[in-house]
Symmetry: C2
Subunit: 487 residues, 2 copies
């Protein structure tokens, strides 16, 4: 109603002003407003708003009831027991075995694992030393899939640049046989992480013997950050690692002051053949067809081999399955199935999610209704970001507006915090990921500082309440979430 009134006013205004000088502008505003409007049926809006009491019940049980603090407690036991869980490691496979047992014991349904082939990279002894113009230890962390140095290490003169452009402009002769140090200025993760992902390849193309990259973080206490990297097709594979912001800046300065900077680098890292890992699945089965229009709640169980992966992504994984468990315990069984998937090998590039998508491809349009993921921290939640078509967005916004008791109604689009579910969202499936107060997320990301000290029991409770409420409503609605899926 409100929407139609607005449209009417705008149309009348447009008619009145159609001969005026600003008619073109008004028409444009008009079009945009109409486009941003939702035309949900009154029935559907009322239906969605009818879940207000369910949200209250879920929130109350989790924030103040018997589930209070349970996510944090379980996650602490888990991370204390297994520590870090890198794809390819025994620790990850043992953690998956443990989760499978735990999910069964906790009463979740259809608990099983599904296989996926994942990279198997070994971090060996790693050491770097500034040897000229003075001697100093350089903290480093080799990047996932990097090759090692020749045995005994290498010593190389340094070329330090801030950008790929700067590197390109140097004659090959000035880079050949040297170690390239990338010291990009922090411009947010997306912009800065390119140097970690592609630094080795770009340096190798110019003839460099190694690439050392400023860690992808806005803040540092001399903390090196690991992460994935990819060798471009056909380039010679050279060793690559992240160094601290502090050292990258100092080396950049020394180089630019004309010093002959030399680094000794030794890395015994190497790659083995891929191994089989597993996505871990559990469900609260819907009252209608259990394998149709499923709502996925997810996070990834693997981590890098530093810290204990409490934040990336223990918290995300645990709020996903705990949401399902809490709903079951509250007797809230929706029409559709809610399925928790704990992805494997996200860190190397969504290996688990990609294989899962492949295996479930045939009936995907029928099988999947909505995808949810948390992988940017489980600090205080503020809302959900979303990817989907306009009709889906209209429904989603109505659902999100019910999260006011959690102070978590913030909307953004597209979804930016769900790397695993992007496998589907990028093709037109609708989905959402957690928005949270994660301003310090990248301080700890992929470092030894990713531990339980970062996780707060109350924040985890609010996150899991948001996930449980959202998943329940979407799984219980009379309609599926609309989608426009490309192949």
């Amino acid at each position: 109603m409100h929407g139609n009134m607005l449209r009417l006013v705008l149309i009348i205004s447009a008619i009145v002003l159609q001969f005026s000088t600003c008619s073109v502008l008004i028409e444009k505003i008009d079009e945009e407003r109409v486009e941003n409007q939702c035309n949900l049926s009154e029935d559907l809006v009322n239906e969605i708003r009818g879940y207000k009491n369910v949200v209250s019940k879920i929130t109350d049980h989790i924030l103040n009831g018997k589930f209070k603090g349970e996510v944090h407690k379980s996650l602490q036991i888990f991370t204390d027991k297994f520590g870090s869980r890198m794809a390819g490691s025994d620790a990850l496979e043992k953690a998956i075995d443990y989760m499978e047992d735990l999910l069964k014991n906790e009463g979740l349904e259809n608990v099983h694992t599904e296989s996926a082939k994942v990279p198997h990279w070994i971090r060996g002894y790693e050491s770097a030393t500034l040897v000229q113009p003075r001697k100093a230890k350089i903290e480093l962390l080799g990047l996932g899939t990097t090759v090692g140095t020749p045995r005994g290490g290498i010593i190389g003169e340094v070329v330090a640049v801030r950008t790929f452009d700067e590197l390109q402009k140097l004659p090959d002769s000035e880079v050949k046989g040297k170690i390239v140090v990338f010291a990009p200025t922090w411009q947010g993760y997306g912009a800065t992480v390119r140097y970690r992902s592609s630094g080795a390849s770009e340096a190798s193309k110019k003839g460099a013997i190694a690439a050392l990259i400023r860690s992808a973080t806005p803040f540092s206490i001399a903390s090196p950050h690991t992460g994935s990297q990819n060798y471009a097709q056909g380039v010679k594979k050279i060793p690559t690692a992240c160094i601290t912001v502090e050292d990258a800046e100092m080396i950049w300065r020394l180089y630019n002051e004309g010093e002959n900077v030399q680094i000794r680098l030794e890395m015994e890292d190497y790659n083995l053949e891929p191994v089989i890992s597993r996505n871990t699945v559990s469900e609260l089965q819907g009252t209608t067809s259990p394998n149709k229009s499923v709502v996925i709640l997810s996070g990834h169980l693997d981590s890098w081999d530093v810290g204990v992966g409490a934040m990336d992504d223990g918290g995300g994984a645990f709020i996903s399955w705990k949401a399902v468990k809490f709903l079951k315990d509250m007797g809230l069984r929706p029409k559709r199935t809610i399925r928790s998937v704990l992805w494997t090998a996200e860190e190397y590039g969504y290996y688990g999610a990609k294989e899962y998508a492949k295996q479930h491809k045939e009936n995907e349009l029928e099988e999947f209704n909505f995808f949810i993921e948390s992988d940017t921290g489980t600090f205080d939640p503020v809302g959900l970001d979303f990817t989907g078509n306009k009709d889906a967005e209209c429904i989603f916004k109505e659902v999100l507006s019910l999260m006011a008791p959690l102070n978590a109604t913030q909307f953004a689009t597209p979804a930016d915090g769900g790397p695993d579910i992007s496998v589907w969202l990028d093709r037109g499936f609708p989905g959402a990921s957690l928005l949270n107060k994660n301003e310090r997320y990248f301080w700890f990301h992929h470092t030894d500082g990713d531990t339980m000290l970062v996780e707060d029991p109350d924040s985890l409770d609010r996150c899991v309440a948001l996930f449980a409420s959202t998943a329940y409503i979407i799984a219980d609605l009379s309609v599926d979430i609309p989608k426009d899926v490309k192949n």
Copy 2:
């Protein structure tokens, strides 16, 4: 005048109320107020206030004039060149040589060094691994003067406690032959650092074979912090190191959950005979007797062997000598000498300052007027904390009130940020140390994160302006700062 009026009102009030039930309370308040009052002569107050324009001139030259950014630039060149400067190291002695030349080249007066014997401890290879209940690397930093482990390392079962009291209550048989992990709750540096200083001794008394201590910081990104420790007389010296907050908390949890926690520890640290280092002295000589009633401006040049000692205490050292240099360049020569001293070996326990005090003992009452130090960071200055008798405090507060253009008039007592000058202040000499916005100081303290990234050019400018202004006024006043010196 204002003070006398206040006293009159209070006395009248006290008389009026003397028979009332609250007369005792009122008298107490009255006494306190009178005690907190100053009886500086009007002439002296006017004299001090007469320096307002000098403060403006100094501030303007440093914040907006040709000196702008100079402290940061010089400090960066210095730390890039020498890196960390641990007492006993070649790096420190080379840095002292460099400073002596630099101070001469910069035109300071009476530039020379004075010898002091300092500890000579070597950090060797250090490694710790959690071996039970699971395998994980433990980051650590051996504490200054710690002994090493027997060659090849040791493996020990862990006893984890939060407090010395908890340790005391354990039967010796439960500690003997084990590694004690101290995981104290952070209660500020002073309270928490006791575990670093005395942890090894207390653990050794109970028969432990090593002591690992939570780093003394309220915040961590898996950063171990080094620092000094002292073996108590007669205890068996056992290896000791700080581990990260993250690991200390995790180990404490595992131990308290009843796990058999075991750590493998290897430390090749050892002590050598003391060596000679030097305090570095430079002056702006006074117009009257150059060696009488000197005002000392100081910081320490040594650091731990991690990071580059930019914050602890490169910044403090550099604002001290730069203040003297800037005053000279501005043609502001006071009546008394301002002497910059860059102390050596503060980190092991003020070895440089203690030797300097000993060597200058004979005429100390005549030689020293006032001591100033910066050793708790050179972030944005907010004022100065002070130690001295009541008369000294009255003068000092008048001087401090002139620092309004720098927003740095905050007063506190006693002085808490001058470990070197405490050698004199503890005996009744008056002095002050920098108060600054150092809420994050202990995040970086004694870690690899103590680098130029912590230092801000504008903050350093404001710090040096505060030091130069304060030192100049105190050195130029018609009166010495009163003192009550004990022997």
